[in-house]
């Protein structure tokens, strides 16, 4: 592992930020402060963290219904995320979006989508822009195994491949789409293998190992940035909470399965590893935990104190200026 101590600390910080934010959002949902859908990223933090560590604010991330973690890892301030789910004017989408519609173009969070699929195509489109404008920016899509059976996967991966676009596709294969098992939705569950069939660079990564993700993403992002074309990373992982807050488990997966993945918690594993390797100390990590706890508490206060959007603005910005 040739990752600097600072970087290790920063990876840990991002994972903890996501985890603590998600747990807070789950509590706020239970309390009724958040309405609509709320899909948490608990258990999958290593993926957004390891990938976004290589991205600049001018790289473009497109994500899906389970997008809180991507937003935070890409640099959306927790205040703006929490305020968005609280429906406040100060939220990253001005309260218009909620959990599934997080927009923060300022930091390159180009949007999450409540519809499965479009992010794949849009990331290819960002790649198209960057190729045409001859910049070294990169487009990134995060999506679940559930998107793999969708036409958008097929069309988007193919377009990016034949046009050689600077894009990185991140498939977060957590084995289920809601309660439908990926093994039911696909006879062949080797996403990386299938993607390679399109002719792009594809590999499978342990999505619960932030270092593995970090290293694979480093290569994929560098490849895209330097004109080497698109890549796909299949990150195998697991969501340890319910599909969406308020839903039950309903029996589609066993308690043993859940427990076995909980035992592979990406943060716990990372902490163990870096401490054992002597890269970081328990005290280092605990300091981060505390820092984040404060940050999340501050975000909740900020959101709670923020004004509601003004209903008089409800139809603003449907169109741009002029024309």
């Amino acid at each position: 592992m040739t990752i600097s101590t600072d970087k290790l600390l920063s990876l840990y910080r991002t994972m903890v930020l996501i985890r603590q934010c998600e747990e807070q959002l789950a509590r706020s949902y239970a309390a009724g402060t958040i309405t609509g859908a709320c899909h948490t990223y608990v258990g999958e933090e290593a993926i957004a963290t390891g990938v976004c560590a290589h991205l600049r604010h001018d790289d473009a991330v497109f994500s899906t219904h389970r997008g809180h973690g991507h937003a935070l890892a890409k640099g959306v301030p927790p205040r703006e995320l929490v305020a968005e789910l609280f429906g406040r004017e100060t939220g990253c989408s001005g309260g218009r979006g909620g959990s599934m519609h997080l927009f923060s173009p300022e930091v390159g969070m180009m949007g999450t989508s409540g519809i499965v699929g479009p992010c794949i195509l849009q990331a290819a489109g960002a790649g198209y822009s960057f190729q045409l404008l001859e910049t070294d920016q990169v487009g990134v899509a995060f999506f679940g195994d559930g998107a793999v059976g969708n036409g958008a996967f097929h069309e988007g991966i193919n377009l990016a491949t034949i046009y050689d676009l600077p894009v990185v596709f991140i498939c977060e294969n957590n084995m289920y789409a809601t309660e439908v098992a990926f093994a039911y939705s696909a006879r062949n569950t080797d996403v990386a293998g299938r993607a390679a069939g399109y002719g792009l660079h594809a590999e499978q990564v342990d999505g619960n190992d932030v270092v593995a993700v970090y290293e694979a993403a480093e290569e994929a992002v560098a490849r895209a940035r330097s004109g080497g074309g698109p890549s796909l990373m299949e990150c195998r992982t697991y969501r340890t909470r319910v599909h969406a807050e308020g839903m039950g488990e309903s029996g589609y997966r066993s308690q043993e399965e859940i427990d076995s993945w909980k035992a592979r918690d990406p943060m716990v594993a990372f902490a163990k590893r870096v401490v054992e390797a002597g890269d970081l100390t328990d005290a280092d990590l605990q300091a981060v935990d505390e820092e984040i706890t404060e940050q999340v508490a501050d975000a909740v206060t900020f959101a709670t104190d923020s004004p509601w959007p003004d209903p008089a603005t409800v139809a603003d910005h449907i169109y741009g200026e002029g024309a």
Binding site: I34, T35, G36, A37, G87, R88, G91, S93, G95, R96, G97, G98, S99, M100, H101, S113, G114, I115, V116, G117, G146, A147, V148, G149, N150, G151, A177, T178, E179, V180, Y184, S185, A186, S250, Y252, W308, P309, P311, V314, A315, I318
Partner: protein, 332 residues
């Protein structure tokens, strides 16, 4: 329930529809349902609760997330002797299948001069509510009224939910059966026995003499509430539920306007090229001399649906807005 007991029971809108579906599946072994989570789980909105256990995994089959794919599959199935139901959960997901709907499903009977039938039922939840936000709040029915070939059904009561679904499941045409989120848990009396409500027959929900309201979906109960309070002000309102938007029962609407001379069409979905425009144009065309005032439309705000509670509330027509519009019409 043993005979002799009350044949009418109170139940929810969702339960009533499930009763119609269950009866149809017992009667007709060619009916099957596709969708996400409609198998063992019984549907995100309990639309197929218990059916997997009863009818097995071929008649209730979960799908990957490929709406275009399974709508296209159902097209081919309907052409070859079965009766598919697509349960979209949220109807918004239908949009990826609009090509299959418009160019295939809607046209097959026509292209074959009736040699093939197209008994596909497309169902899902429509409408604004509960912070569902912009990708889970749409209605879209004007499009399906515009395109020839569809039946468009918008039940508003448990009774209608059962009776209209029964008709849909005997109909050889593609049917969009659209269930508004806010109505799913509404309770009402529903006969235990099978019955069917023909398409194209509006229901006069309340009689009145001053102003007619045609309400669509959730605007039916809202219009009834407004009518109640307007009655106290001395304004007598007739409320009509068209129940199906294609076919549209213009006769009932025109005869009401013949009596009141004034019409408000109240609909949560978008105004431009919406169902209110169509009704207004037809009433003008066929009942111009009856009109004592122009037909008015009350629609949801013409904007994507926002998430935040105060914004969401601001885009949906309220009981008070209905009342205001009726008062204005009455005063004209």
């Amino acid at each position: 329930m043993a005979s002799g007991e009350m044949a009418r029971r109170e139940m929810t809108y969702t339960e009533a529809a499930l009763e119609a579906l269950t009866a149809a599946m017992v009667r007709d072994p060619t009916i099957f349902v596709l969708g996400e989570g409609i198998g063992e789980r019984g549907g995100n909105f309990n639309t197929t609760k218990g059916l997997y256990q009863r009818f097995g995994p071929r008649r209730l089959r979960d799908t990957p997330i490929c709406e275009r794919g399974f709508v296209g599959l159902c097209t081919g199935a309907a052409m070859t002797g079965t009766r598919p139901i697509v349960d979209f959960m949220f109807i918004d997901f239908i949009l990826d299948a609009v090509g299959e709907l418009t160019n295939q499903i809607a046209k097959i009977q026509y292209m074959t001069s009736g040699r093939l039938k197209m008994p596909v039922l497309l169902r899902g939840c429509v409408g604004v509510g509960g912070g569902a936000a912009t990708h889970h709040s749409g209605s879209y029915f004007p499009f399906f009224v515009n395109v020839p070939g569809f039946r468009v059904v918008v039940p508003t009561t448990p009774y209608d939910a059962k009776g209209l679904l029964a008709t849909a499941l005997r109909c050889d045409d593609p049917v969009l059966y659209l269930e508004h989120k806010s109505l799913l848990n509404v309770r009402g009396d529903v006969p235990e026995e099978d019955f069917a409500i023909p398409f194209g027959e509006a229901r006069v929900c309340r009689e009145g003499t001053d102003v007619t309201i045609v309400g669509v979906g959730p605007l039916v109960p809202k219009s009834l509430a407004a009518a109640e309070s307007l009655a106290a002000e001395g304004i007598s309102v007739e409320v009509i539920d068209p129940r199906t938007l294609a076919p549209l029962d213009m006769e009932t609407i025109l005869s009401s306007v013949g009596k009141t001379g004034k019409l408000l069409v109240a609909d949560e979905s978008f105004g431009p090229c919406g169902i209110g425009a169509e009704i207004a144009a037809q009433v003008m065309d066929q009942g111009f001399d009856d009109l004592a005032a122009p037909v008015r439309r009350l629609n949801g705000v013409h904007t994507p649906t926002p998430y935040s509670p105060p914004l969401e509330a601001a885009v949906v027509p309220s009981v008070e807005q209905v009342a205001v519009a009726v008062r204005e019409l009455a005063a004209e």
